[in-house]
Structure formats: structure tokens, C-alpha cells
Amino acid sequence: MLFRPSRRQIISGMTALGALAGTRTAFAQRPKQIVIPEGEFTPLPIAISNFVPGTPGDTEVGMGVTQVITNNLKRSGLFAPIDQAAFIERITNPDAPPTFQSWKQINTQFVVLGRMTRQGDGRLKAEFRLWDVNTQQQLAGQQYQTSPESWRRIAHIISDQIYERLTGEKGYFDSRVVFVDETGSKERRVKRLALMDQDGANVRYLTKGSDLVLTPRFSPSTQEITYMEFGQGDPRVYLFNVETGQREIVGNFPGMSFSPRFSPDGQRIIMSMQQGGNSNLFVMDLRSKSMTRLTDTPAIDTSPSYSPDGSRICFESDRGGKPQIYVMGANGGGAQRISFNEGSYSTPVWSPRGDYIAFTKQGGGAFSIGIMKTDGSGERILASGFHNEGPTFSPNGRVVMFFREPGGNAGPSLFTVDISGRNELRVPTPGFASDPAWSPLLS
């Protein structure tokens, strides 16, 4: 086969060569290098201008979208949105570049402009542009169409775009959290399964509260949830489809099954099954319904969690006396203990990024949330106190959500914290809340 380059290809090739030659001459003289090693991390100053309404009726949704984006970026701790009262320029045409000088004056590095328009077919069109004030370049620009009810999702998607463009990492705003909603007095607590956006909006209840539910877990690839429910008999592991509302028991075997979690491809569920005084880990294929035993020890093995590539499993076991974290291959066998510090460790969960394992640590009279590298090194406590438990990672592995019980008569509530240990924030929920589990990105 003969390779015949088109005119366009030749030109682009020549341009590339020219650029290469340009860089070569630029560095031919080997200029003196001056190292700039410091540079503190500071939240990026960003100005989010109100989304301009396409028609007079779109003012409200435009402001709503602006609000959600501002809130998302601010809560991430990586951005410092500038108060709109400080803005000098009032944007009327989001298609034109902003007056950079007036934005530079208020010390912002980036400007977000946008427009919301209700179209003839009733659908909502959202457009946005992200501008760099210093280089005067457009860094991102996108438009979306959706049904009017999903305007919040649009705002989350735009937030993710901005986050990804300016941090170099995937965002996590367009995601949801399933948790156990708790109402009523301490003695007669009603526990319902609930679903909400990651920022606490759009709460939906998935169960009625007649039965006790525990440990809901999102599938990393599908919109399904697995959880444990105490019905009439032994507690059982259930599978719940968020979109269809369908519910089914995972397997039907004697004894108690608990602490379920999905495999990364969403095709299997790994869980604990009670056998006498002990419990062992089993994995069940959701299609063939076949069960495979992974551990066989006279101890309590529980809380298994897959690595994102599905090759390894971390879990909690008291085979050494106290509960500790172990890692083994996905097919079982060769488990190695990775937690060696003071105290006992439980509820390990592998980060979707693969770099860390989050855990609950009990010791020194406190329950703490922490992370460690997958070989057990670099342990870092993110939150500590009377009772912190049940860590779950954001889809990008940058944020950990957990629940905290303050003690006394008050109930638990949800918190997020950056994996650096900074920026701890309470997540708004309608009532008490525990056992959160973060979904993958929706889009």
C-alpha cells in the first residue's frame, strides 16, 4: 500500500517540524536555570458570572446554575469563587470575550460566562465558557441540552468540566450518594435507604423504613445499589436498581450474609457469610449466580473491597487477634496484613484511583477515619473523635465521605474531607444520616 499524504497532511507536518525547530533554537544556548521550588498551594480565584437568560423566563434557572457551580467549586476547597458584588463588568453577551482588564483588577485568574435558554421544544439549553484572564484564552466551552428538571445536573457537569480543566483531575460533582436516613428517637430509630446528589440536594427515599437497612454500596459501573437488610429472618444482601426501583435478594443461602460490595465491573458481589462463629468471604457472579469461596479461616473475615483494576481485595480480619486490614489476590489466598500500627482497623475501602485504602481505626478512645497506601505505608488520619466511621471515596478518589456520631442523644451526620486531611465539611441531609456510599460519575 502506498502512503500518499494529502496537502493538508504535508502542511501540518511542516508546521510541526517548524515548531520543533523553533524550540530547538530556543534552547540551543542552554539558558541559566533558576529553580522556583516553593509556590504554596492556594485555592484558585475564579469569578462565576451569572448565567445570562436566553429568554426573560430563564433568569431564575440561570442564577440557580450559577449558584450550584459556585457552591461546588467552593466546597471542593480548591477554588475561591469571588463574590459577585465585587464584579466590575456585568456580562450581557457570554459569546464575546470579557473585558480582561476589569477582571484582572479584582484579582481573579479565571472567569466563567454562560447562558441558559428555554428552547421551543421545552428543553433547556446551557452554554458556558471558561476564560483565562492572564493569557486571555478560552480554556473550555461547551453546550448542553436537557429537560428543565435536570438543570442541577447541568450545573454539576459544568462544575466538573471547570474542575478537570483547572486541576488536571476528573471532577466528582455529577455524582450521587446513597446513605441510611435516620429519624425518630434513639430507641425507635427508623432507618431508610436514601439517595441524594453529592451536594445534598434532591433527596429520595428508596425504602419505607419498616425493616432495618445497613451498609448500602454503589456499583462502580452501574446505577445499582447493594445493601444489607434485616427482614423477618436473618439479614440478607439485596440488590436495588436505582432507575427501575427493582429489588432482589442476592443468593439464597442459610445463615447471615453481610457487608456486600460490587466488583469494579459491577458483575459480581463480594460479601461475608456467617458459618458458625466465623465468617468468610465469598464472591457471587450476578449472572450465573455461582458462589466462590475466597477465604477459609477460623476467624471473622469481613468488609471486602476490590482494587479498581479488580486484581486484589482488601478486607478486615481478626485472624491475628485484633481486627486488621489484609490484602489478597482477587481469587483468594496469600492474604497479607498491611496495618501494623496501634489500635484495630476496620471497614477498608479501596480508592477508585487505586492509590489509597481508607479505613476506620479504633484506638486511644477514639474512632478515626484514615487512609494508607495499599502496602500499608503512609498512614494518615483525616478525622478523629468520639465516633467516625464508614469511609467512602468520591469517584475521583480525592475526597472521603464518612459519618460522625457526636455521642449523647444526637444522631449521626455526614462529612467530607480532602485526602490531604483539609477542608472538612458537613454534608447537608434532611435528618440524621449514616453509612454513606458514593456513586460513580453519572455521565
Binding site: 536555570q33 493569557t135 486541576t167 488536571g168
Partner: protein, 305 residues
């Protein structure tokens, strides 16, 4: 009570007067410090054969003065008796010559054109050597005439009797008189015309490197604008290198030229953040005297190790 009140007043006054004073950072001295390898040093010293032939002025701290020659002759003739008694005499002569020459050799040897200025100091300095009186003889004289410390005065004919007495008799109280009172051998570099600046860079050597000075000034200024992205703890030791050209007023002559294409989205964002910082923080205030050094250089943004 009164003393308590007094203490309170005094302490309060002290605290106030201290707190109102602004803390000022002392200006940093320009100290070019750089660690270089032996190899680099050898290269720097070797110079460049192809370098432009320049005729730099030698360092001259004072204009050489011509000293009288008559005395010397007369004095030398009188010396012999003293010479035999003390060993140190031959030493000063040997010592002084190389010491006097030291400041000159590098410049003089390389520059044949420089001969005239060099020749002059030589005779001037050589001649005084013989003139210089024997330390002991001088010491003795000083004992008698305490006020005049100048060696020139030693040239006056000594009295023959005194030296003999001193030879034999060691008097502890006179040790001070035995001290060497000659002028220090390190003398100001002399020449025909004054030039208080040592030549900084010659075309035959490498230029003076003051990058430690202006580099740290640039670093402090650009860091104020650098909002680096937060890549978590495990971020992959990012580094962004640019080549930038600055005008004399500290503004950028053109946009910074990034070196290399970032391999990951994070590295791209990292490079962009540094690029933004360079643009945002101009103009840079750097010492104008070193403009030749900072008009073109490569800032390297990296994580502190």
C-alpha cells in the same frame, strides 16, 4: 503601690514603643555564591582561546610613588656587621619579591601590552628592599628615639657602639623592640592610574555568575503569583521549564517558551499555572547591572523535595 504603677507604666510604654515599630527586612547583600565542580573551575580558569582580545585595566589601588634611592646605597654599606649576627636578613628579601609580584602575574603574563605599568612598580618596589634596615638595628634605634616609627628614619647612620651591647645581652624587657616593625609585605597594588574595580569578566574567561542574587529575586517575585494546582500528596514530582527573555525594564519580551509537552493532564495544568505566574508577575525588579545575565534564562518550577 507606686512601684507597681511605675512598672506598669514603664512596661506599657516599652511594649507600645516596640509594637509600633515596623519590622523591616534588611536589604539582602548581593553575594554571588555558587558551588561548581573542579572541572568547571578548570574550564573557567582556562579561558577561551577564541575570545576577543581585550585590554583590561589592572586593579590599581594606589598610584605608585617613587622612593629615594640614595639612602639605600649608603645604608647597605653599613650593614655587614649586623648581617652576620642575625639569620633573618636573607629571608625578607626572598619573601618580599614573590609577594609583591603576586597580584600582578595573572594579568601581566597574559597581556604583553600591559608591560609599561608593570615595569614601573617593580623597580620602585625592589629598591626599597635593600634600603630596609635590619630589624634589630632598627629596634635598637627605636629604643633611643621612641617616637619615630618610620623605617625611612632607620636610614640615618647608626651609632656603632649600641649594636654590640645588644648582641650579647638579652633583655626581656626589650623583647617588644625586637618585633618586626617593617611594613606589611602585602602592599596595595600600584600602577600609573587608579582603578578600584577588579575586572569582572573577561572575554577569555567565563562571565561572572550572579544568578544566586538575581535568581532569588526573580524567584520571590514570581512565587507571589504562582497558584499551583493541588495534585495531592502522591503527585508525580512535577516540573515545568520555560525559556524567557526579559527587557531592561523587567517586562517580558515575548511569551514564555515552555520546554517539552506535558505527559498528563495534571502536568499540563501544572505547566499552565507556572506560565500564568510568569505573565502575571511582570515587570520583574532585578538589578540592572546584571541585565546581561537575566535578559535570557530558564525558570524551572518544581516541587520542593
Amino acid at each position: 503601690m507606686a512601684s507597681v504603677a511605675l512598672h506598669v507604666i514603664v512596661l506599657g510604654a516599652v511594649m507600645l514603643s516596640f509594637s509600633t515599630r515596623a519590622l523591616e527586612m534588611p536589604a539582602e547583600d548581593s553575594v554571588p555564591v555558587d558551588v561548581i565542580s573542579e572541572d568547571n573551575l578548570a574550564k573557567a580558569m582556562a579561558g577561551m582561546k577564541t575570545g576577543k582580545k581585550e585590554n583590561p585595566k589592572p586593579l590599581v589601588e594606589k598610584v605608585a610613588e617613587v622612593k629615594p634611592m640614595d639612602d639605600a646605597v649608603g645604608k647597605i654599606s653599613e650593614k655587614p656587621p649586623v648581617v652576620t649576627e642575625t639569620a633573618p636578613k636573607p629571608l625578607p628579601k626572598v619573601e618580599e619579591k614573590p609577594v609583591e609580584k603576586k597580584p600582578d602575574p595573572p594579568k601581566v603574563v597574559e597581556k604583553p601590552k600591559e608591560e609599561p605599568p608593570k615595569e614601573e612598580p617593580k623597580p620602585v618596589e625592589k629598591k626599597p628592599d635593600p634600603v630596609k634596615p635590619d630589624p634589630i638595628a632598627e629596634a635598637i634605634k627605636k629604643e633611643e628615639k621612641k617616637p619615630p616609627p618610620k623605617p625611612v628614619q632607620a636610614a640615618k647612620p647608626p651609632e656603632p657602639q649600641k649594636p654590640r651591647i645588644v648582641e650579647r645581652h638579652f633583655d626581656q624587657s626589650q623583647i617588644a623592640a625586637l618585633l618586626d616593625k617593617r611594613d606589611p609585605t602585602r602592599q596595595a597594588a600600584t600602577g600609573q592610574t587608579m582603578n578600584s574595580n577588579a575586572a569582572l569578566g573577561l572575554s577569555k574567561g567565563t562571565a561572572a555568575d550572579n544568578s544566586a542574587t538575581w535568581g532569588s529575586m526573580f524567584q520571590r517575585q514570581v512565587e507571589r503569583c504562582w497558584k499551583k494546582p493541588y495534585g495531592g500528596i502522591e503527585s508525580q514530582r512535577p516540573e515545568a521549564v520555560f525559556a524567557i527573555r526579559l527587557r531592561r525594564d523587567g517586562t517580558l519580551e515575548g511569551n514564555p517558551v515552555p520546554e517539552g509537552v506535558p505527559a498528563t493532564p495534571f502536568l499540563k495544568v501544572y505547566q499552565e499555572s507556572a506560565y500564568r505566574a510568569i505573565l502575571e508577575c511582570q515587570p520583574y525588579k532585578l538589578p540592572e547591572a546584571m541585565y546581561e545575565e537575566w535578559k535570557y534564562f530558564a525558570p524551572v518550577f518544581k516541587e520542593k523535595v
